[in-house]
């Protein structure tokens, strides 16, 4: 579904991506892991066109991601942002139905609201939340609203950027479970970036590890624990000692 080859991105003198090759098969849930600053977010932003790569190719469903109709390209995606990125000025239901209220997927306001309330219900929120503003919600509820917005237009591909960051362990578990369920029932292709290993085990079919701007290891989640790669071993077990230098 998503094929990335030789992706490079440098900011000033900081080479963040140094030739990333990654294939995300259709209908699977791939999780990219790696320490802070290894380029995980930049990778997602390059696919979406939010950041222009210096070199390399990105193909989504066989088509070049940087060419063609941008609106149609983006209509394939839903994204859950790390902090939710909900629009403060809009009530919850208009956040969820944002794509359904404008552009090529526009539909009548009442219909859009009904879909928004249905999606909110899917992520465990009642209709009474629909008319609240994002600032009136807790962190966990904002994450759920962000998730409802990501799935509102039934996208084929969903990106999750650090979906459990800032949540308590129970809420993190709930969000992980929701993501797994929703991705399975929609048959969507999911790409998640995280450094939360509980998330990885709950969400992933496949795991890819980014280190030093390159893909260090990639494989099914079942093989992750037995992999011989010392970098992966250090990361997934959270060891201070190992080839990855820790800043103390």
């Amino acid at each position: 579904m998503i094929d990335i080859a030789g992706l490079h991105k440098t900011f000033g003198t900081n080479a963040v991506l140094r030739g990333v090759d990654l294939a995300v098969p259709k209908g699977t849930s791939t999780v990219v892991i790696g320490g802070s600053g290894t380029g995980k977010s930049v990778l997602l932003k390059c696919i979406l066109g939010l950041v222009r790569p210096d070199a390399g190719t990105i193909r989504v469903a066989g088509a070049d991601a940087t060419a063609g109709d941008r609106d149609a390209f983006l209509a394939q995606f839903g994204m859950l942002f790390q902090g939710g990125a909900l629009f403060d000025s809009l009530p919850v239901w208009q956040n969820v139905a944002f794509r359904l209220l404008r552009g090529s997927q526009k539909r009548p306001r009442a219909k859009a609201r009904a879909i928004a309330i249905e999606k909110l219900r899917r992520v465990g929120l009642g209709a009474e939340v629909a008319d609240l503003y994002p600032a009136e919600l807790s962190g966990g509820m904002q994450k759920r609203v962000g998730l409802a917005r990501a799935i509102a237009a039934d996208p084929q591909i969903i990106f999750f950027d650090e979906p459990t960051t800032g949540l308590d362990p129970i809420m993190a578990g709930v969000i992980n479970e929701l993501i797994r369920e929703i991705v399975s029932e929609m048959g969507a292709t999911a790409l998640t970036i995280t450094h939360d290993m509980t998330s990885v085990r709950a969400i992933a079919d496949r795991v890819a590890m980014l280190h030093d701007g390159k893909l260090r290891w990639e494989g099914p989640v079942d093989e992750m624990d037995d992999a011989a790669d010392p970098y992966l071993h250090q990361f997934i077990h959270g060891l201070a000692e190992g080839p990855i230098a820790a800043v103390r």
């Binding site: 979406l48 066109g49 939010l50 839903g78 942002f81 990125a85 000025s89 944002f98 552009g103």
Partner: protein, 257 residues
């Protein structure tokens, strides 16, 4: 040599900034003419920029008109020309003080608010979220605000002109001994249509500048609270300086012989 290099670097950085702002302005204008148009955002911007700025602009104009009457009376008394107070207050307000002070007050209120809002949207990834939801940030955020400010600031200037003249009238008739009907007659008789029109045209330019600077600095905000704070300061300072500079150029254009 180091000082020369530093000066060169600053000059180049300044020129690059001017270029970026010019491209930003041109992009905004090009989006102004192409659909989709976000009418709800435009309506909200009209309300935020126009309606909610009325008290600030009105109060500024009222006190300025009053002070102007006192100053002109005191100055005019030196050569027995106290009678010019009504006409000079009117001409001073509509040509210069109405648009310039109105523009500066709107710069303080609106450019700061826009830069802070858009800067916060930038650092909380709301602008990235807009893009992923197939919505162009320039069309959704910049165009409605720039258009609303360009259209409403002339109205604010017109209201400010009227209130400023009224401030002069209040002071003139209550403190300086002018007859009410004579004050009004002198105001109307010496005021020409182009005096008012030029001030309103300045208002439109100042409105464009205010919203453009607010949007530019907000959308290019640095990270964190410090980045948003800097963007807000830069928006107000650059809008104010550009208002004063363009005021001089427009005055040259409109009134130089």
């Amino acid at each position: 040599m180091t000082a020369l290099a530093a000066t060169g670097r600053r000059t180049l950085a300044f020129l690059a900034l001017v270029g970026r702002i010019a491209i930003f302005a041109a992009t905004t204008l090009s989006h102004l003419l192409r659909p989709p148009f976000y009418l709800r955002e435009f309506g909200l911007a009209l309300l935020q920029i126009g309606w909610f700025s009325l008290p600030v602009v009105g109060l500024t104009a009222l006190f300025t008109g009053g002070a102007l009457a006192l100053q002109i009376y005191a100055g005019g008394a030196r050569f027995n020309a106290e009678a010019v107070v009504p006409s000079i207050v009117a001409i001073g307000m509509v040509r210069e003080l109405g648009p310039v002070l109105g523009g500066l007050m709107v710069a303080g209120r609106v450019a700061a608010a826009i830069a802070a809002e858009l800067g916060t949207m930038k650092v909380t990834e709301q602008i990235d979220a807009l893009v992923t939801l197939s919505t162009h940030p320039m069309k959704y955020l910049t165009v409605p605000r720039v258009l609303a400010a360009t259209l409403t600031v002339p109205f604010l200037v017109a209201v400010g002109d009227a209130i400023g003249i009224f401030g002069g009238y209040l002071v003139g008739t209550s403190r300086l001994g002018f007859d009410q009907s004579v004050y009004l007659k002198n105001t109307v008789d010496f005021l020409e249509l182009w005096d008012v029109g030029s001030g309103l045209a300045k208002g439109a330019v100042f409105g464009f500048i205010v919203a453009l600077m607010g949007c530019y600095h907000g959308m290019h905000s640095g990270r964190g609270a410090q980045g948003v704070g800097r963007a807000t300061t830069n928006a107000v300072v650059s809008a104010s300086i550009l208002i004063l500079a363009s005021n001089y150029l427009l005055t040259e254009l409109f009134f130089s012989a």
